[in-house]
């Protein structure tokens, strides 16, 4: 393997890692948004009852 090939492979590997990281971040954001949406919708459905808790 000559120098040019090694440089290209290293560049490709760096690019691959960068894309994998971006995909992971996107999935994390999507899951975070889903959690927030479920929480917000639950509060909306409960309405005033959310604060009406027996002691």
């Amino acid at each position: 393997m000559n120098l040019m090939e090694r440089v290209s492979e290293e560049q490709a590997e760096a690019e691959r890692r960068k894309r994998q990281r971006m995909r992971s971040i996107a999935i994390a954001i999507a899951l975070g948004v889903l959690v927030v949406l479920f929480y917000a919708a639950t509060i909306v459905h409960l309405g005033g009852n959310a604060l009406n808790r027996p002691f």
Binding site: E5, S8, R19, A26, F38
Partner: protein, 317 residues
């Protein structure tokens, strides 16, 4: 976009980027789906909490994106050979078929469950029906078998305003069916205008679009027939309590232009002029649908925000 590095003939794939998955969701189709769903939601009687309305629109958008991804997964073999679709992520080798299938399936299930659990199950069921119809009925069954593919398959694109309506009301009613029918009737002339000048693409991959099977002239005739059905139908919201005078006037005016362009397609049969006439109708048809729903949205918002009923007052109500 996923990048491929060439090293002495060997291709080093860098894997798909986030933007490649976004492209799988057909963002332009998604935007029209979200827009028509929004109109259905705003036009529906009753109120939906803004948070739930936002969730409903997001779920509908994601459901539409799932349909797009699953469609690209199934049609990858023919997309490679058509100029219009050759640049999609799978034909370009940026996303594998398995990745697209998994992505689409996860989004489909998530969007339906989210809409069903958080908003209501009528809307959730309609979204599930829309995705299933688009994938199983249109993409897998009709598209490669019959020239009626986009006539029946067009139902999938017509459901979003009904889903939006159901998100608010929890049901289906005459008004939401009218919105459905407008998009349903709009789809054939819209896609056949495209198919007229992309005829060779469809022929090459064996998709029996009407121009391939029945010929260009029959397609032009069918475009005129469906346009004649569409234009009066598009005026009906003014008579069922959905649209007011502004909508009625806009619908009549744009309908007249639609019919004129359809007639031009019918009359212009030779050379580049015929392609140009078909392209003009195709482009105008997009504007036509967008404008009708935009006016409907404007009227409904004006009525709801000001309480001044004559904006959105139905001629017949």
């Amino acid at each position: 976009m996923g990048v491929e590095t060439q090293v002495d003939g060997a291709v080093l794939s860098t894997g798909p980027g986030v933007e490649d998955f976004v492209a799988l969701m057909k963002p332009r189709v998604m935007s029209l789906v979200v827009f028509t769903a929004l109109v259905g939601m705003v036009a529906a009687p009753g109120n939906l909490h803004p948070v739930l309305a936002f969730i409903a629109l997001l779920a509908i958008a994601v459901g539409a994106g799932a349909s797009g991804a699953l469609n690209m997964w199934y049609d990858a073999d023919i997309d490679r050979h058509m100029a219009r679709t050759a640049a999609r992520p799978i034909p370009r080798g940026l996303v594998t078929e398995n990745e697209a299938l998994t992505f689409g399936a996860v989004l489909a299930v998530t969007s339906v469950l989210t809409l069903g659990v958080l908003v209501n199950w009528v809307a959730g069921a309609l979204l599930a029906l829309t995705i299933a119809f688009y994938i199983f009925v249109y993409t897998m069954w009709l598209k490669r078998r019959t020239p009626q593919n986009i006539v029946i398959g067009g139902a999938a694109g017509a459901f979003p305003p009904m889903i939006g309506w159901a998100a608010v009301t929890g049901g289906v009613s005459l008004e939401s069916i009218v919105l459905f029918l407008i998009i349903f009737m709009w789809t054939p002339p819209h896609f056949w205008a495209l198919a007229l000048y992309r005829c060779r693409d469809y022929e090459r991959v064996g998709v029996p679009m009407l121009p391939v099977v029945a010929g260009l002239q029959e397609t032009r005739r069918q475009i005129v027939i469906y346009s004649l059905l569409l234009v009066p139908l598009a005026v009906t919201p003014s008579f069922v309590g959905l649209g007011g005078l502004v909508y009625g006037a806009t619908s009549v005016m744009l309908g007249a232009i639609f019919l004129w362009l359809a007639y031009k397609v019918y009359r212009t049969r030779e050379g580049r002029e015929s392609d140009r006439a078909a392209k003009r109708l195709f482009v105008f048809s997009i504007f036509y649908l967008f404008a009708l729903f935009a006016v409907l949205l404007g009227e409904q918002l004006a009525t709801k925000l000001t309480g001044f009923a004559s904006f959105g007052a139905a001629v017949g109500s």
